[in-house]
């Protein structure tokens, strides 16, 4: 009797077990990996929750991964194991790899000419051209822009005025002049040095673009697949020399390759007068300056006044959201709908105010210039990080947030400023950055160093091409 009952119970359990997933099948679960773990991650979680609240059948789960490099590695390894998210944030340097790997569905192909996806409007034309251009591969819009930034200068105006500088430096020469003027403040112990900024390969890429120079051949890999490195240029030499001049005169505090925290801290705490950093640091630097109690002003990234081309423009940096391929059409649409929500006019504006990343839509800038009373669109989280402003025009209250948009807006879009794309981007960065570091710290035969590194990087690139390029 008990035996039969137990068997019935067992059959029932099996039936329920089979039925359970079938009942839950209506719910689409999406995982999205982002490379943030600070207030920017909080914003992403908050926005995903607002999206989840809009409908019952899609649930987006945000996952925080340490940094840009790690997210690419983890996704790559996950892909080998068959365990990866539907949505992943990939930074600019991974663009060519993302395309070559054949692991992603392109946004434009998912949208397939629709005006909206699950009720979320596409409105592609609204995206700022320099941004949509960067992430357009062979004429197809590949990924959804989210966090877009560009380097800008941050100046401690109080210190500059103390040194008798009234105009903010715009060029390399003006930075060096300002450092000469600031030297008395260093000597009397008011500050530690003139300038400090993260020693990142990203700035080298930017300065090449400003001088209308390519990093790799075939027009930065935009006209055809890049096959050779192009470091043997006056533009690259000039960058190395600028760093050497800054450092050997004691104007620059070097905190190590790719260390972003310490230089920013040096500036915020008033130990240096000049910081160069991502526009994405605008929020943190503004708050830090206010806390320490000095006046902050910003300009576009300083440029080489001696470059024959003058200032041409800057590349945009940051990352975009990619959708893994091989998903069910309904899941793919859900992912696309989420990303359209994630980057719509209101959220893009909110994201900008929360971080300093450039709004990716023109309509977001317009929205911020004409705020309705109460400014509900501004990011509101319990942590108290909310910015309450009186003005209708957000940029009138926070002019430093506009510097990045202006810089990108004024940039000429060509294949130098669209930035390089090639498969060994991540691998190569430490090489061309390390060369400049070596020359800055130790001097030496710059030409020989460049020849050597250029050959190494070209070899790596050709190996990559051999494994990935269509034959």
């Amino acid at each position: 009797m008990i035996g039969r009952f137990a068997r019935k119970l067992f059959i029932l359990a099996v039936a329920l077990g089979a039925l359970g997933p079938a009942l839950a099948q209506d719910m689409i679960e999406l995982e999205a990996w982002v490379a943030f773990s600070d207030h920017r991650y909080d914003w992403a979680v908050d926005t995903a929750e607002r999206f989840n609240a809009l409908q019952d059948d899609i649930h987006v789960e945000m996952v925080s991964v340490v940094d840009y490099d790690t997210i690419v590695n983890n996704y790559t390894l996950g892909r080998e194991d068959g365990d990866y998210p539907e949505i992943v944030q990939l930074f600019d340097a991974a663009l060519q790899f993302a395309v070559d790997s054949d692991w992603f569905s392109f946004a434009e192909e998912i949208i397939a000419g629709r005006e909206e996806v699950l009720g979320h409007p596409v409105n592609f034309d609204d995206i700022i051209p320099v941004i949509s251009n960067y992430y357009t591969v062979d004429g197809v819009w590949a990924s959804v822009a989210w966090n877009t930034s560009t380097p800008i200068m941050y100046y401690n105006v109080d210190l500059l005025e103390q040194a008798g500088i009234t105009e903010l430096p715009q060029t390399w020469a003006e930075v060096l002049d300002a450092c000469v003027a600031l030297q008395p403040l260093v000597d009397d112990g008011t500050i530690s040095a003139c300038a400090s900024w993260p020693f990142s390969g990203w700035f080298i890429e930017q300065w090449l673009a400003q001088q209308n120079e390519y990093m790799v051949n075939n027009e930065n890999g935009r006209a055809a697949r890049a096959t050779e490195f192009n470091l043997d240029t006056d533009a690259y030499r000039a960058i190395a020399q600028f760093y050497r001049d800054l450092y050997s005169n004691g104007y620059f505090i070097f905190e190590g390759q790719d260390q972003w925290g310490p230089p920013t801290q040096n500036f915020i705490s008033g130990k240096v007068a000049i910081l160069m950093s991502s526009s994405a640091a605008a929020r943190a630097v503004s708050e830090g300056a206010a806390e320490t109690g000095f006046r902050l002003d910003t300009t576009g990234m300083v440029y080489n006044q001696d470059a024959p081309s003058g200032w041409v423009g800057n590349i945009l940096g940051g990352a975009t959201m990619w959708i893994s391929n091989g998903l069910e059409p309904a899941v793919e649409d859900a992912a696309m709908a989420f990303l359209l929500f994630f980057s719509n006019t209101e959220n893009s504006a909110s994201w900008h105010t929360a971080s300093g990343y450039v709004p990716v839509r023109n309509s977001s800038i317009e929205l911020l210039q004409n705020l309705a009373p109460g400014n509900e669109i501004l990011w509101d989280i319990p942590s108290g990080a909310r910015v309450d402003i009186e003005a209708d025009d957000w940029y009138a209250a926070f002019p430093n947030f506009l510097t990045a948009s202006t810089q990108l807006g004024n940039s000429t879009v060509n294949n130098a400023t669209r930035g390089s794309t090639y498969g060994t981007f991540q691998q190569s960065r430490p090489y061309y950055n390390g060369l400049v570091e070596d020359y800055m710290l130790n001097g030496g035969d710059l030409d020989a160093m460049i020849m050597d590194t250029n050959a190494t990087l070209t070899e790596l690139l050709q190996e990559y091409n051999f494994l990935f390029a269509d034959e």
């Binding site: 390894l77 190590g256 310490p262 691998q427 990935f468």
Partner: protein
């Protein structure tokens, strides 16, 4: 086979192995004066031929083909040498056991009651199988993959790979950057091991004194070992920043001077060593504390009654009796210093300034994980593996003579 041109023909390679093997066995026969000369020569030649082909034949003797560079041929001979070391050792120990009339395989522990009877072997295997399976799937198969990938040009996510013989290895022969990475690994490891072990012994000796709250101190001192190298790196990053670091803040207030801990040479290397020492020292203290408690008190007391000074007691009694612990710690600390410090380096210095803290293991990480260039990085990791195996063998050889186990 006929249409491939060789600069060194496979038959010649095999012959060289056979001659070396026969010669080595003849030497052993002369040295031991045991067994038949002819059999020694025959088995020696077979072992030598097997050794010469062990690592070269699976690759089709590609490194000896005429289109290869001289570095590749050199790598080929190194592979022959490694194969010979392996086969000659195994064959000679077996042959001389046979000559001496011993069992070919040493008898294991034959304690009565352990897995005996008809199904003894089955039970034993069943009990061992979880471990064996874990070893197969998580150690031996990945190891085999590592061997295989080291002969390929390969990247994660790539649609194809390319067999490139031993180019990944021969490239390292001529790569001066890699040589300095290797040298640096040795130098930093040496510093880490010396400081971490001597300091740990000092602290453990102090902990061994009857002081109040010794167990609390012990816990606090061992605690850094529970922290992963990455976190240790972050902690030291906060401490050692040039402008914003706590250490320089203190130095500035006290002496008006700042040390660029992480961005100058040799300060960056010293910082990496100190951070690693801090990270691993808890482990050493743990073992030395345990070791000190095994030393019989009466021995020390009687020495003390006989007039031995504290230093003499330490040098003549304590330190020799601790030698098994010292030996164990040297081996584990070598492995830590070579393989586990890359996370700390990644956070602390990124191998800088100007690659002055770029160790060979950090190179493996950067090449394989950050750049997905797995062919090169597996080859680099095999070199490191061979080095650490080599060091460990040397340590065991030296250790067997110096270490005193038990029986006091």
């Amino acid at each position: 086979m006929e249409d491939i041109a060789y600069s060194v023909h496979p038959i010649l390679v095999t012959l060289v192995g056979a001659v070396l093997g026969a010669g080595y066995f003849a030497f052993l026969r002369w040295q031991t004066q045991v067994g038949s000369v002819n059999i020694s020569l025959l088995i020696g030649a077979i072992a030598g031929a097997a050794g010469a082909t062990l690592l070269t034949a699976p690759l089709g003797y590609c490194m000896f083909q005429s289109d290869q560079k001289s570095e590749d041929i050199m790598v080929g001979w190194i592979a022959v040498a490694l194969g010979l070391m392996l086969t000659l050792n195994i064959f000679s120990s077996l042959l001389w056991r046979y000559f001496r009339g011993q069992r070919l395989l040493p008898r294991g522990d034959t304690t009565p009651g352990a897995f005996r009877g008809r199904f003894g072997l089955v039970y034993a295997l069943a009990a061992l199988s979880p471990t064996i399976l874990v070893l197969i799937f998580f150690v031996y198969l990945p190891m085999f993959d590592t061997l295989r990938f080291s002969t390929f040009l390969a990247r994660f996510g790539a649609p194809r790979t390319r067999f490139i013989c031993v180019s990944n290895f021969s490239r390292m022969l001529s790569d001066v950057d890699y040589h300095s990475n290797l040298f640096l690994s040795f130098a930093l490891s040496f510093g880490i091991i010396i400081i971490a072990m001597s300091l740990a012994l000092l602290i453990a000796s102090m902990l061994n004194q009857p002081i109040r709250g010794a167990s609390l101190y012990r816990t606090l001192l061992i605690w850094p070992y529970a922290i992963s190298p990455i976190v240790a790196g972050s902690i030291f990053g906060l401490l050692l920043g040039t402008e914003s670091g706590i250490v320089n803040r203190a130095l500035d207030l006290l002496f008006g001077a700042k040390v660029p801990w992480l961005v100058s040479i040799p300060a960056a290397q010293i910082s990496v060593v100190l951070a690693s020492v801090w990270n691993v020292i808890g482990f050493n203290i743990l073992f030395y504390t345990a070791g000190l408690q095994t030393i019989p008190k009466d021995l020390l007391e009687s020495a003390s009654i006989d007039g031995a000074s504290a230093w003499q007691r330490f040098a003549r009694i304590t330190f020799p009796l601790l030698s098994p612990f010292t030996f164990f710690l040297i081996v584990t600390n070598t492995i830590y210093a070579f393989f586990d410090t890359f996370g700390l380096i990644f956070v602390l210095t990124r191998g800088g300034p100007t690659e002055s803290t770029f160790t060979a293991m950090y190179r493996v990480y950067v090449t394989g994980i950050l750049a997905s260039d797995i062919g090169k990085s597996t080859a680099q990791s095999l070199i490191l593996f061979l080095i650490v195996v080599g060091i460990t063998i040397v340590q065991f050889r030296v250790g067997q003579r110096r270490v005193q186990y038990g029986n006091y």
